[in-house]
Symmetry: C2
Subunit: 328 residues, 2 copies
């Protein structure tokens, strides 16, 4: 099959469509003819050699896909050739074909195109894991979502609004991102460049008022997050874009407010974890995608021969929403 | 009824047995004639006025008791007068009688005296909450228990050994405490005054080998705890006896190892939480107390007219195990 290959896996690497062996189909796998995949920041790291794929995963870039089932393994019961499916991959999305465990695939809602479906898995499953599995967000609780303009941020706002009817606080650094956050369901949106969000939250909502924080920023927000958290509050870290070294942290609020502070990434989880997460996600959200209550945010669509241009767009932070590759 | 009263609730306070109204019996409560109660560090703080009881709780000292049911509220179905019961109190143990929600009381195993039963609730329920509800310790995981000679420490070692068949690492500062820890089921026991427990664990067991840490010390152990934790590791803080200010903390291990860092106290939890915890605890442990696989550690027994002496013994850290008051 054809797949995008990394030539010289270092700072001077290039991408090139080449011929590679078809992926192996095990008994519980389906083989999918990929129609669309999406670009993730991890792809940009992986091509420089700095973020090797986990053990057993494909060396080919691409962490999510949408397409059509072509073949099924001997033990597959859920799918038939021709079914439209999408899902998370440990790698291998930048290619004509991939294989995926049958329980990792989800049915594409009829109203969604392949390009839209390919924009869902990474951001929505990451946000779902953070809110449901780690943060254990409850109906009508208050959630603080940082980097609200990011893929995971916009997904988290939609999920918090649609599944949990949560009171949503969003932070971002640009007005159009704050506007998008409000459009998607945020009740409060603060510009971290102009406002101290902790002061704003205390003034607008009250002391100790936030049940769950989803944070990608790290160090600069540590003290403010702790300050606004309620009793039994939870913080879920997904990355540390603003640095990781906190100077002078007091442990007292952890005990006094009975806090839980957690971190997680999705990629290095076991296949069984991802299967369980996918099933729970599909059960709770696919009907909401069907009615349009939840929708993937697509920034732009590139033919996969233009992958380099697509990567540059992400590298330069030009995108709002997902960058899609198609035409395999 | 007679109860111990605090005269001058400040640094110069004294204790005195005096007459107070009987506690009110609500429909779902039982009234218990107390046969024994136990001393907790919280009692020493409360008598100075520094640790007021939570809203709605008795002003009388005493966070646990064992005794005999005397009266039952109109909706009580589980108990009859004459039943031997023990359990956690939000206050009111230093008295002839207490009232307690029928679901907060547990049946005293036949082989245990009142003095032994009164030594169980605070330490074992705190340890159980830390291991089962917060730390989610799994069968044969590895648990690191600090302050292994304390009441909660000895209880946690017993539970980790008997319920989870865990690999247990204990730390303490005295040889006889380390010996006790080994007797109760610890596989490894380190003297923190003479050994760097992180180095010892890495040498004896390996890198990233600890699934759950139960910590009372705080600051001096932060970096070492993080260092020895395994993927998906959990830290449960119950107090910060060694200080709370951590300088220069990196958030990276929280993400890389997918850690959860939690804190909790038992006393300020809701009644419903304590009921659920008590039920789960009773179901998983009472049969083990009956066979002697689990046993309370009693340090000494005082007539309640000698409560001041009993408090001094705790204040001077003379006790190993629980100090019991009786003779009400």
């Amino acid at each position: 099959m054809q797949a995008i290959q990394i030539i010289n896996k270092n700072d001077k690497n290039t991408l090139e469509i080449g011929t590679v062996p078809d992926p192996e189909l095990s008994d519980s796998d389906i083989q999918v003819k990929i129609a669309a995949t999406a670009v993730n920041r991890a792809d940009l790291l992986q091509r420089t050699g700095n973020y090797p794929p986990p053990k057993g995963a494909s060396e080919i870039l691409g962490l999510e896909m949408a397409g059509v089932v072509k073949k099924t393994g001997s033990e597959v019961t859920k799918w038939e050739p021709g079914d439209r499916v999408f899902g998370l991959l440990a790698g291998g999305g930048y290619a004509e074909y991939c294989t995926i465990h049958e329980d990792m695939a989800m049915e594409i809602p009829e109203n969604l195109s392949f390009e839209e479906a390919a924009a869902i898995p990474e951001t929505f499953l990451t946000a779902f894991q953070a809110l449901e599995w780690l943060g254990k967000l409850q109906e009508q609780e208050t959630v603080l979502i940082h980097a609200a303009g990011s893929g995971v941020g916009t997904s988290a706002i939609q999920l918090a609004h649609q599944i949990y009817d949560a009171r949503i606080i969003a932070t971002a650094g640009k007005q159009h991102k704050l506007d998008t956050a409000r459009d998607l369901g945020a009740d409060f949106a603060y510009n971290y460049k102009k406002q101290n969000y902790a002061e704003e939250i205390i003034s607008d909502i009250g002391n100790d008022s936030v049940n769950v924080v989803v944070d990608f920023i790290g160090k600069p927000y540590w003290h403010k997050n702790i300050e606004v958290l309620a009793m039994d509050g939870r913080v879920v870290y997904l990355s540390f874009l603003g640095g990781h070294k906190v100077e002078e942290m007091s442990l007292i609020p952890i005990l006094r407010k009975r806090l839980s502070i957690m971190g997680s990434t999705l990629r290095n989880r076991s296949e069984q974890y991802k299967i369980d997460l996918t099933k729970d996600f599909a059960q709770k959200t696919l009907s909401l995608f069907k009615t349009g209550s939840l929708s993937p945010v697509v920034d732009s669509i590139f033919d996969w021969s233009e992958t380099e241009t697509a990567h540059q767009r992400m590298k330069n932070n030009k995108n709002t929403g997902k960058i899609i590759l198609t035409g395999m």
